[in-house]
Symmetry: C2
Subunit: 250 residues, 2 copies
């Protein structure tokens, strides 16, 4: 039977979500805990991969288990085995062919910025010690709705077939001491959010006009966009599935 | 001339605010930075002392400087010298006899609790992995308004003359994933907030009745109150002064 594991992690000490040689990943640590608890080798497949240092407030991964499981008990046991920086929120019964990656219809990311030295967000937000024109950054951000091809914000060595994404939400807002950028889309290209934020910061600093921002998108050339901002301030906050994904056994 | 330094710090790596032998304090680190920037030995006096590991989102300390200073420049220089976990927000001109400790008329603390494993609040909140009756905890907390002598919540070896405090605000509220206890009073006794929270948690867990909570206060005996909760989840969030404190030179 297939299940969706709903989880969160502080990515600070991990080289991203996905398994890789010679570096510790979130996936690997969860697979090890699952294998210990279920007493057999178990692999999981995540809704996407986050880069080194990137966090997830909500992530899903699917797993296949032969026998019926007590989900509440499994959540409890996994949380006991897992380190403090990874937490399992829930385990959902899903239909047999549900796929954590291919069935996801939306992903939401937040990027956290502080514009003053902040002892409580040194690890969790990116410090931009300058005045930012947030209204202008919002105006530029809204231009993203007018485009579909975001090759200019994608890592160049990537195996995707198209650079098309549908942007559904985009917004800069002040939340107490944090300046938060929220973006939701059906899919994201590698490094896309961090490249968008880096480019919008140039707008906010007065170094790039809105017309210039549009030209960058139209150029489809990563070299024209801004510097990618650090991963430590990036949070995957939601992954969305169609309701029928969860309508099944259990 | 006397100035008030307004600052914040993440107390995780410090043995509290106040200078002490053989352990690093926040006061010591700020005095060192000030002495470097002003090129002479400088001492400061804080609004109060926080215990080891306790944080401050707003703290004040006074300092005497002979010559006129450029406050904006001094804030900038101090922040460059100070580590990431201490930040200076502002330097205020105050009247000549203003006293950071004796003139403070109110102090506000928050205590942060999570009731589920949380990868983002492992260091910043206290995990109580049980169901808490928050309504009952609020009901008990309101009883604090009916008392003035809080000896039962004070460290026994302390040099205070009285155990009288006036509680001005007290409240438990859910803020997203955090259960936050806020308390404001004219003054606090040593360890008082952590002892109150520990005792109110016993109420929330159903181990102590409201009548029992009142009996503890009336007993004036620290041994009757609950266990003190960890310092890592305690935040001094505001120190209040009368407006005239800031009405002066500069």
């Amino acid at each position: 039977m297939r299940y969706f594991i709903e989880l969160s992690y502080n990515g600070e000490k991990y080289h991203g979500w996905q398994n890789q040689p010679n570096a510790i990943s979130v996936q690997e640590v969860i697979e090890k805990a699952l294998s210990t608890v279920l007493r057999k080798d178990v692999s999981i497949l995540g809704a996407g991969r986050t880069d080194a240092g990137v966090h997830a407030k909500q992530m899903f991964a699917h797993v296949d288990v032969e026998e019926e499981i007590n989900r509440t008990e499994l959540v409890f046991k996994l949380n006991s085995f897992l380190p403090q920086d990874i937490a399992i929120q829930d385990i959902h019964a899903v239909k047999e062919d549900a796929h954590a990656r291919f069935d996801a219809i939306g992903r939401t990311y937040e990027y956290w910025i502080v514009t003053e030295k902040n002892p409580f967000h040194n690890q969790s937000a990116h410090l931009v010690y300058k005045d930012l024109d947030v209204d202008l950054m919002n105006e530029a951000a809204k231009e993203l709705f007018n485009y579909e091809d975001f090759k200019c914000f994608s890592k160049t060595h990537t195996d995707v077939k198209t650079y098309f994404c549908t942007i559904e939400t985009v917004c800069w807002e002040q939340r107490n001491e944090l300046l938060v950028f929220t973006i939701r889309a059906d899919r994201f290209l590698r490094n896309m959010v961090r490249a968008i934020v880096g480019t919008l910061l140039e707008v906010g600093l007065g170094k790039l006009s809105i017309a210039g921002f549009k030209q960058i998108i139209e150029s489809r050339n990563r070299n024209n966009a801004g510097t990618s901002v650090p991963g430590k301030a990036l949070y995957l906050t939601a992954v969305t599935y169609p309701a029928e994904t969860f309508k099944t056994h259990g």
